[in-house]
């Protein structure tokens, strides 16, 4: 028999599926900003933030919402191979596959893009752009200079990468959108909305303010970490529900189990 906590656990499996996208005040704001930026005649837009702040899901959400209205392409997985990357670009522009055993001549590609100026506006969403080499980024910049192609570059913000990003994009980026970790209120509405989306009302009601406070402290407001923590919490609940139900209460989440999950994930060091 399936435990009552199994569906709750599955809610928090980390994904960038648009169906799992949660509209929060902060994410709505970032989305509006992004939408407004791609309307402008900007060449490159940088979506910036620490891992787990919702960059990928935001890009995906934008793609799913705007792909019918705009010529939008989403590169979810970064292509480290230059040849492969430009083959993809070629296919986007010409809408044809490159003949086998042939290579894209970059200067011809740039010339072709220039000829498309005013006719088409191709928007490419590049996720995990920190994976691209500096040379490739330079070529992407040259393509964006043709004004027929726009790039939305999503980039992780770690201390080192922050510097690289600043140096690399300083002269090329026209718009920077930064995503930050959620506040306590953000985390609360994120968790509750996620559970309510799957009609898990009882579980959502069992998560009170003190639990949110603890979850926020442990995860520092990071959505991915919050997903991980709650997944572990409900996995532990599932265990107790099957093996020792006297140890859990169904109407209220246990601080002890949250802390146990925190220990398990290394947020708490014993």
């Amino acid at each position: 028999m399936e435990s009552r906590y199994n569906p709750a656990k599955n809610v928090f499996i980390d994904s960038i599926d648009v169906e799992d996208y949660i509209n929060l005040d902060s994410s709505l704001n970032a989305y509006d900003q992004l939408l407004h930026s791609i309307e402008k005649p900007l060449k490159m837009i940088l979506l910036f933030g620490r891992p787990g702040t919702g960059k990928s899901i935001l890009l995906n959400h934008l793609y799913q919402n705007q792909k019918e209205q705009k010529e939008l392409y989403y590169f979810e997985t970064p292509t480290t191979n230059e040849k492969e990357f430009f083959q993809k670009i070629f296919k986007i522009i010409t809408k044809k596959d490159l003949p086998p055993d042939s290579q894209v001549n970059f200067s011809t590609l740039v010339d072709y893009c220039r000829s498309l100026r005013g006719e088409r506006e191709i928007i490419v969403l590049l996720d995990e752009a920190q994976m691209y080499s500096q040379e490739m980024m330079e070529r992407i910049r040259l393509l964006s200079d043709t004004r027929s192609m726009k790039f939305v570059v999503s980039l992780h913000k770690t201390e080192n990468e922050d510097l690289i990003a600043k140096e690399h994009f300083q002269s090329r980026i026209w718009e920077v959108i930064e995503l930050t970790n959620g506040t306590q209120v953000d985390i609360q509405s994120y968790i509750h909305k996620k559970l309510l989306k799957k009609s898990l009302f009882e579980v959502a009601n069992a998560i009170k303010g003190s639990h949110i406070k603890l979850i926020h402290t442990l995860t520092k407001g990071n959505y991915r970490e919050a997903n991980k923590l709650l997944f572990t919490v409900f996995e532990l609940y599932e265990y107790y529900d099957r093996n020792d139900p006297s140890k859990i209460r169904y109407d209220q989440l246990s601080i002890k189990i949250i802390e146990m999950a925190g220990i398990k994930l290394g947020y708490i060091h014993v």
Partner: protein, 268 residues
Amino acid sequence: MYDVEGLEKEWKRYKSKQRTPWIVSAILIILIIIAIVFRADFSAILSKYSKDDNSSIKREKIKQESTPLKPYVPTMAPKSESNHTVQKTAPLKSESNQTVQKTAPLKSSEEVNQSAEKKKVPPMTIEVSDLEAEPVREHKRKYLKIEVTDRYPAKKKQTEKPKKTTKKKKKQTIKSVEKNFSKSRSYYDSLYLARAYYKKGNYPKAQKWALVTNDLNSKLEESWLIFAKSKAKLGERREAEQILSAYIGKTNSTKAKALLRKIKKGKF
């Protein structure tokens, strides 16, 4: 699946670690509070011990240095030369000389035992206590120190005595006021006696003298109050209440009202 039991153990360790600083700080706070509350007692105990320590050290010194009595006598002489101190120190000098004479033969004989030396200490202290009364002899520090320590029990005696004397004095004054009243028939005297007996806890007499005062001057509020208080103290609360309510009816006195309230509540 995780090792949930192991995780539970880790959680227990984490909780105990988390609680220890709170427990330690709570204990510290309690200790600080205790120290603050009993500060006076601690200081008293400390001072007592420090005094005891000083006295033991000083006693040892006295035992070791039994000779300082000799230089003591000659130092008295030049001081007596001053005009003011001559008259005051004159009797003391004679006393000190006497003690020196007493102790001198003991020191001259080499067969003096330790027990004999111990016996020598009390006369020294008597002598020094006399000296201490004189502010002129400040330079005799050793003797002053001895006096301070040995005086400690003596001080108690001195403090106890005045209590007895004041009690005696009070008795005497009450008697004399009573005698005086038979002649003067003054309500000042009778009121004084009512007050005095009430303070002493002799409520029947306090009641009697309050009545006498009231006969002489019925307007004196204090006589009414002492009378009612004495009644209440003797367990006659209803009467006390009646007296007070009668007096309140006449004068509307706030003091009487307050007293009546106290008696009614049983707080008196």
